[in-house]
Each structure stands twice: as C-alpha cells, then as structure tokens.
C-alpha cells in the first residue's frame, strides 16, 4: 500500500476509532472483545484500503466488517493470544458503570448476538431496517422480526431485577 493510502488509513483511525469502539462495546459487551473486534475490522479493511478509498468513504464497509465479525465470532485467537477455556476471558469493571448502565449492559448481553446487533444498529446507530439488513447480511424482514423480539425481551429484562450472580453470556 502506498504512502497516501497509509496516511488515509491513519486519518480514518484517528477520526473513527472512538465511534467504532462505542459500537463494539455495545455489540460485544466487554472491553477486551470490543478492542479485538475493532482491530479485526480495521485489519480486514486495511487489505482493501486502496480500493475502498477510491470508491468513497470506507466507514460503511468497516462497520459492516465489524458487525459480521461479531455475529460470526469464532473465538479463533491469534497465535500469541490464549483463552482460558470455559471461562469468560476477562472481567469488565470498565470504569464501573452506574446502576442503569449495568442493568442495560446485562440485559443486552442476555440477548442472542443477532438480536442484540439488530437493536444496536437500529437504536444506537439509528440505521433504517434496510441499512441494518445490509450490514447484517440478512433481509429487512428479518431485521424487523429481530428488532421486535429484541425490544420485547429487553423491556422484560429491564422491568425485572436481574439476579446479581452468574449471568452467563448467551453464545
């Protein structure tokens, strides 16, 4: 990749990293996975950077890669990384969110990944059903169904005090 593309990639990282991390934390639920997701999305996009920048803004492509990497998360780790099998990888004290944040975070994590993704893209990224469908690689009707079911489950989870112990992430 040439110097101009490298500079463009650096500028993109400077501009968009914080936004990508915010999207990733909502999708992944913990900081470790969120950082991994952003790195994976940037690395996959870097491969096509010259073409992406020639064709317009790469933001949509990077977000799509981030979303698809999340929904097809395969727990495949780089050679130098290691996971403690059967256990969540890391705690997420994450600045110790307040009670409302923690309640929402727990409710989101209790949703299946695609349902969570649909809610986050529709209500955090403010995307249309069609645009969400494009990012998730499914039909707009599926997004509609997932969003409706997700809202119902989220409302139910937020209206009932959740147990404080042993809430396991749904795979």
């Amino acid at each position: 990749m040439g110097a101009a593309e490298n500079e463009s990639f650096h500028d993109f990282v400077f501009r968009e990293q914080a936004g990508l991390l915010r999207l990733a934390i909502l999708l992944a639920g913990d900081r470790g996975h969120a950082e991994d997701l952003v790195q994976i999305a940037l690395m996959k996009s870097y491969r096509h950077w010259a073409r992406l920048t020639r064709s317009g803004t790469p933001s949509a492509y990077v977000r799509r890669v981030l979303v698809t990497s999340h929904t097809s998360w395969r727990r495949r780790l780089a050679t130098t990384e290691q996971v403690m099998e059967t256990l969540p990888e890391q705690a997420d004290p994450s600045g110790i969110p307040d009670g409302e944040d923690e309640e929402l975070r727990r409710a989101l994590r209790s949703l299946p990944p695609r349902m969570r993704t649909a809610l986050v893209l529709r209500f955090y990224e403010d995307l249309s059903e069609q645009r969400t469908a494009e990012l998730m690689g499914c039909s707009a009707s599926t997004v509609n169904t997932q969003t409706a079911r997700g809202l119902t489950r989220l409302r139910a989870a937020l209206s009932v005090p959740a147990p404080r112990d042993r809430v396991r992430e749904e795979q």
Binding site: Q39, P93, P97, D101, Y124, E169
Partner: protein, 472 residues
C-alpha cells in the same frame, strides 16, 4: 421503555463503558504489523522444491527463524469453484437440496440466515459415520464500495449422519469472508468414550499437495517444532481423524504445497456446542505442591483451566504431564473480595517445562480466569525455577488498579527480588519469604533479579509473555 429512552440509554452506555481510544499512530502500526505478519504466515516459504537439498534448508528456515516476506500465489486458483467434488457430487438431487439449505444453526428459524447468491456446493462426501458438505456463496447485497466480482465469498460447513438427507444436515460453521485462493478446513469434534474424537477436513485446490502436523513437538530445550506428513488427497480434499483429551483451537495445522510455495494454516473449529466428557482429564494430571496450599477460594478453579489449555494445545494425554504448584496465594481485586493467583509448572514428556500463572476470581457473571503469563522452559528441576509474573485483576486497558501485582517465585534459598528498569537501574529490592515476593507492580520494570543470601544472582527474568505452543 420507549424507543427514545432506549436510544439515550444506549448512547450513555456506549460513552461511559467504551475502551479508551488508542493513539492513532500506535494502533495503525499494530494493524499494519498484524497484516504483514498474517501474510508472512500464510505464504511463508517460496522455495524450489525439485531439489531436496534446497527444500530441507528452506523448511528448517521456516521453523527456526522469521519467515521470509510473502511470496505471492502464482496463478489465479479458485479453491471454491465448480465442479462439485466428493463422492456425492453425482447425486444431483442431493446437491441441489444442499445448495438450498438455509445458513442457520440448528434450532434457529430458517429466515434468520443471511441472504445468499451464487450458491455452489464445493464438496460433499460421507466421512466415516458422518456426511459432510461445504457450500460457498456471496452474502447479498455485496458490501458498499467493493466491486461485485470481489465481493467477499462466504462458506458454510454442513454435517449430519452418514447417508443423511439434505434436511438432516446442520450448519456447523460459517465463515463470511474467505480468500478464494486459500484452502479452508474445519475440525469437528464428537464426545466419545472418555475422549473427544475429531474429524478434520481440508478443502484445497485439486492440484494442491496437502500435509498435516497433528500436534506440535516440544523438545527438552523448550523449542517447538512441527513435522508435516503428506495426506493423500482426493480431488484436493484430505480427511484426518484424531482423539483429544481437551479441545480448543485445533492442535492440528496443515499446509499445502502449490507452485513451489507452502501455505501454512490452521483449521477452524466449533467447540462450544460439543458436550463435555464424563471425566475431567485436567483433574487426572498429578499435581504436586512446593509450598503449603492456602485455604480454598472460588478462584482455585482457574488453575485446572491452565492444564486443560495445555492438553488442548499440545494434544498430549493427562498421564504424560506432571504439574507442580510453585505457589498459590491471594491478591487484592477490583472485581471481587480477592483473587487467587496460582503459579504452576507442568513437566512435558521431553522434560521441557511449561510455566504459567493464572488469576481466578468471582465476578458478577460467575468465576473467571485471567492468564498472567506463560513460558516454555528447558528441562530443569522445578524447585529451582525463577518465575516473574505481572498479574492484574482488571483488563490491561484500564488504569493501574489495586489488584496489579508483580509475583516473583524462586528457589527456597532466594531472599531478594531486585527490580531493574531497561537501563539496568535498580528500582527497588524486595525481601522474598520462602522464595516468594508479591509486590505492587512497579512502573518501568524490565527485569527482576533473584538473589541468594550471598548476594549472587540465581536468575534474572523479565515478566512472562504468553508461550507460543503452535510451532508456527
């Protein structure tokens, strides 16, 4: 909750809990370095293969030093192109039905899969007691800004019982973006009689030569190598069976030889849906202790996962390992009342020693473990080992926390841990009790020297990283 409220709460949650952004220079450099490292791993050795005298040094170079810059693949090979391969390829009704299968996991509604175009069954065959199929297609619509002919190709693996109809096949694994020129492979596990049985299917181009290394070889010196053997492929597809005592990332690696170049890869795997064994192989590894055990702690359950990970990574059996807990004790934690640190040495069949430290604690989502570090060491008496670990009860991205500790474990005669920076300046000295010191993590630490009562240095070590057992 109204939608507006949800929007506001999601925004607040994202702002308050997102990890801090890294320096753009630093992150860009990391991405570029990982990109190049990945390419180097994939197309590692370009060597003339007609002469064995040339090939052997080239392969040795692969295992002993940094791989050479990638040799680009020659020619435009499409691993996933037509026609369908495998013994079922002529069963057109079955192949058509497999092609129409929704890409959803068992139990999910059919309409939840991605919309696909250009679907094509790459390979379908009966493998021992199972029926396998690999299907390729393009997720629709193609991503913006990418030309249609370069849209990411996705593949899905379907598995069912031998002789299954298409409807009896279940999607096991989905990869949304494969390189059309690179082979792909999946290791599927079944829970057997006291062990896990695995089937690995490698789908390469028909002209590729396929070689596999079922597990790494760890010498007494602590070096890790791999020996690859050829597997006779049928139409570019190879199948390998194995048994395991623990599963994770597959210990098996494979490589294909194409146009004089090797490409080395690891199969994908799905372990989450595999039922556990009715025995616990990690618990069968004999564990000795150098020092008295502290009282029980929920975090004690993290130590066996260190052994389970080793069993999975090395493919070794429990009776081939002997573990020794060098030290265990409690550290302060930001997550729970305290965290249990366990420092362990595991002797491998060659005599080499795997040393690792793990922190176990009780979080609000249940007990969890964090690896402090690990290393492979040359054969030596475990009671003489010097181990330096940086353990933290919070993710590394967070500011230093009350649980961040330096753990130094040495032989019983060690009485001082001297902490040095990168310039060799002494940052501090800490007394060791029974050969152990646990102190707050000093800034700028580079090395720790462990001294005996005479002031002689027994050993000097930097805090551990993570052992690379892959043999790549």
């Amino acid at each position: 909750m109204e939608e507006t409220e949800l929007r506001n709460r999601l925004d607040a949650l994202a702002r308050r809990t997102a990890p801090p952004a890294r320096e753009p220079d630093d992150l860009t450099a990391t991405i570029v370095a990982r990109h190049h490292a990945q390419r180097r791993r994939q197309w590692a050795v370009a060597a003339a293969i007609v002469a064995v005298l040339v090939l052997v040094p080239a392969v040795r170079a692969l295992t002993t030093r940094e791989p050479q810059p990638a040799a680009p693949p020659t020619g435009q090979v499409d691993v996933f192109g037509a026609p369908t391969r495998g013994s079922l390829a002529d069963d057109t009704a079955l192949i058509d039905a497999i092609q129409r299968l929704p890409w959803v996991r068992a139990g999910d509604p059919p309409d939840e899969g991605p919309s696909m175009t250009d679907l094509h069954v790459v390979w379908a065959d009966d493998v021992e007691t199972e029926r396998w199929a690999l299907v390729a297609g393009v997720v629709a619509p193609a991503p913006p800004a990418v030309p249609a002919d370069d849209a990411p190709l996705a593949v899905a693996w379907f598995v069912g019982p031998r002789g299954a109809t298409a409807e009896q096949l279940a999607m096991q694994h989905l990869i949304r973006d494969v390189d059309r020129q690179l082979p792909t492979a999946l290791t599927g596990y079944r829970t057997g009689d006291g062990v896990f049985d695995s089937t690995t299917v490698v789908v390469a181009a028909p002209e590729d030569r396929i070689e596999v290394s079922v597990r790494p070889e760890i010498a007494a010196s602590g070096t890790v190598t791999r020996a690859f053997v050829g597997v006779p492929p049928r139409d570019g597809v190879a199948v390998v069976f194995d048994t395991h005592w623990a599963i994770g990332d597959p210990a098996l690696h494979y490589r294909v030889l194409r146009d004089g170049s090797y490409v080395i890869l690891r199969p994908d795997s799905e372990v989450d849906s595999v039922p556990p064994l009715d025995r616990d192989p990690a618990a069968e590894v004999p564990v000795e202790r150098l020092r008295d055990a502290p009282s029980g702690h929920p975090g004690d359950m993290a130590a066996p996962t260190l052994i389970a990970g080793l069993l999975a990574d090395t493919g070794l059996a429990p009776d081939q390992l002997v573990a020794t807990v060098l030290w265990a004790g409690d550290l302060p934690s930001v997550v729970s009342e305290s965290a249990r640190a366990t420092v362990m040495a595991v002797r491998l069949p060659s005599g080499a020693i795997y040393v690792g430290g793990v922190l176990g604690q009780e979080g609000i989502e249940g007990p969890f473990g964090v690896l402090c570090g690990s290393e492979l060491r040359a054969a030596a008496p475990v009671e003489q080992l010097v181990v330096v670990l940086h353990c933290s009860s919070a993710p590394p991205a967070d500011p230093p926390d009350v649980g961040e500790r330096l753990i130094v474990v040495g032989p019983p005669e060690a009485i001082t841990a001297r902490v040095l920076d990168a310039q060799g300046q002494v940052l501090g000295s800490h007394p060791m009790v029974d050969g152990v010191a646990v102190v707050p993590m000093p800034d700028n630490l580079a090395t720790v020297e462990v001294l005996d009562p005479g002031g002689d240095t027994l050993d000097a070590r930097a805090p551990m990283g993570v052992a690379n057992l892959s043999g790549d």
